[in-house]
């Protein structure tokens, strides 16, 4: 702050001090609830708050009992398996369909682009309760409620908008003369897609896939309405845990999920940097 010119007066200094303080308070508000969970998950007592022993750092006040409770409970194990299984297939479906559509939407000669984009992005905007209610009626009639296929299709539909957004972002400024050059040199359209377009949009595809995965992994409303007891996922298990018997095993699984989101955040950031590097031409302009 040493570079502040002399014509900035006392009020300016006071203002920037206030700005700095309030910004840090907001950052604290954002991060503190998440950080509080982590130590609480090691609580030896079945409470959601810090005990005397925890505050005075006595080792016997901490334990891993809630973690071992999760990994010895069949319900939690099934939920963990389901979350990854449903997430994986929903992501696969969403990524393939979404990438393909984004390539089409990014072309200049796409008819009715605005309308179709708005339609394809709408699963992100329509409240989940409406989606879930509609799907419950419709999928039940088709025999898709209460089984994996129905949940996977539903989650794939919810994930595609994110794939479209991220892939479209990597395609803006895409140099189509590269594709035309490949065609002139005799490449088949399929080869052009996989050898020319795909390497350039790969960061967008991967981050879109991660978004689609996290959407499925975090989704609970559709599961509440459509899934049977065999398709219970981690958030579904947490939801009923928070409603019925609150115990710190929820905090333990929450801590594991926080670790997972840190890994995801780092991955996305690395991908973003790679994408910016690969589109280096655009930055010179």
């Amino acid at each position: 702050m040493s570079k502040i010119p002399a014509y900035y007066g006392f009020w300016y200094h006071l203002g920037s001090w206030l700005l700095k303080t309030s910004s840090w308070l907001v950052l604290l508000f954002l991060i503190m609830p998440i950080l509080v969970i982590i130590p609480l998950s090691f609580n030896v007592e079945p409470f959601f708050s810090f005990t005397e022993g925890m505050l005075t750092f006595q080792p016997e006040a901490y334990s891993l009992r809630w973690y071992s409770a999760i990994f010895s409970d069949d319900k939690w194990l099934l939920a963990i398996k389901n979350s990854f299984l449903i997430g994986f297939f929903a992501t696969l479906l969403a990524t393939v369909l979404g990438t393909c559509a984004a390539v089409g939407l990014a072309r200049d000669d796409m008819p009715m682009r605005r309308l179709i984009t708005a339609l394809l992005l709408s699963p992100m905007i329509v409240p989940l309760i409406i989606t879930a209610a509609g799907m419950f009626f419709f999928y039940s009639d088709l025999g898709l409620a209460g089984n994996y296929l129905g949940v996977i299709i539903a989650h794939a539909a919810l994930g595609t908008p994110f794939v479209i957004i991220t892939v479209t972002a990597t395609l803006t400024g895409f140099d189509y003369s590269l594709a035309r050059a490949a065609i002139n040199l005799g490449a088949t359209p399929l080869r052009v897609f996989f050898d020319i377009i795909m390497p350039l949009i790969r960061p967008g595809v991967i981050s879109g896939a991660l978004f689609a995965f996290i959407t499925s992994f975090d989704e609970v409303v559709v599961i509440l309405f459509m899934a049977g007891p065999q398709q219970r996922t981690i958030p579904r298990q947490m939801f009923s845990g928070l409603r019925e018997q609150i115990n710190p095993s929820i905090l333990a699984i929450a801590t594991l999920l926080i670790l997972m989101s840190i890994v995801l955040l780092i991955t996305i950031e690395l991908l973003r940097r790679r994408a910016t590097r690969m589109r280096g031409i655009e930055q010179i302009e």
């Binding site: 950052l27 609830p33 339609l119 409240p127 509609g134 009626f137 996290i214 409303v221 926080i258």
Partner: protein, 410 residues
Amino acid sequence: MSTLTRTEASQASSARNKKRLTAFLFVVPLLIFILLSFVAPIASMLWRSVHHPTVATLIPLTLSELQRWDGKTVPDQQTLNVFAQELHSLAKVRESGKLAEEINRASAGMSSVVKSTARKISRLDSQQLAQQGGEILLKSHRKWSRPDIWFAIQRAGKPYTYDYYLTALDLELDQEHGIQVREDTQIYLQLYSKTLSMALVITIFCALLGYPLAYYLARLPENRANLLLVLVLLPFWTSLLVRTTAWIALLQTNGVINSFLLGIGVISQPFEMLYTSFATVVAMTHILLPFMILPLYSVMRGIDPSYLRAALSLGARPIPAFARIYFPMTLPGLSAGALLVFIISVGYYITPALVGGTDGQMISNIIAFHMQRSNNWELAAALGSLLLALILLLYWLYDRFVGASNIKLG
């Protein structure tokens, strides 16, 4: 410049059409998938809110008899006899409960009347009912002699109905006065206005907390700002259930905040914070704040700081300079963030359901209630359709002013 010949023009146009078709073909698979897996379910829900043939299939003969009815007195003996017979056969196949529930929706308090009458009638044989069904009916409960009950049955028997929308808007159709405001229970309009005002409060909080932070971050050197942005992005990437759990742990009666305040002696009695609308607002502000900060930050990054410096060096006082130079330039980011936060919070379900108690419930929660508890799926569909119309209006505004494809992720 020479003009194109007819052949050249048609070639160009067919080449263009071919290109358009190629582009469209890329989109077709997803378009079909979304239409079948997402649009069709919602359309079927809209259909369900106006099409409800249950009563029409349960008592078809009574309904056709009622067509002759003048609507002012008790229906004639023949109609009553037919109804008694139909109720009898429904009771035999244990379907009379369904009818009771349906009539109860049209006229509250009728459920027990229909059920008890059905019990009485099911012991008699249908020959007897064909002769004296009407008398037995009138004797079994005095409500059967009220014309408004028959009016309600007649309305419930229409396969196409806008009654659920009337209920969802706290209106009712009175036999004499037409459509009027419901007198006894006015819940839904109040709930809509509560939902909207809570969403507005959350949006305002997000703007008040997000604006200074985004401004602060935008003025930092880029690598330092990126480091601090991690603190914004980590909550954004953390599971919704985890963040809701965190607020339960913080706000509980014997939770972290109360223990802390009791421990340092500021309060002697723990606050009741969880299961209130306060809890809903705080938790949702926390959850949606990144949606406000990220678009604001990206707009503010793009604003050249020399504009503000120029205004200040030309003698403008800091506050007017900020209000007249800088703030207008950040409006695109602010409106994008605010609309997004508002849209998401209007339809929120999970967090109010877990931390809101009865006080902090929103419209989504009552839809879930009608889906899961009261099994009034048609009313749930009507309430959902109204919510959907509201959201689509907001989405249209968003698309118009911000552009749907400009939604930023992280």
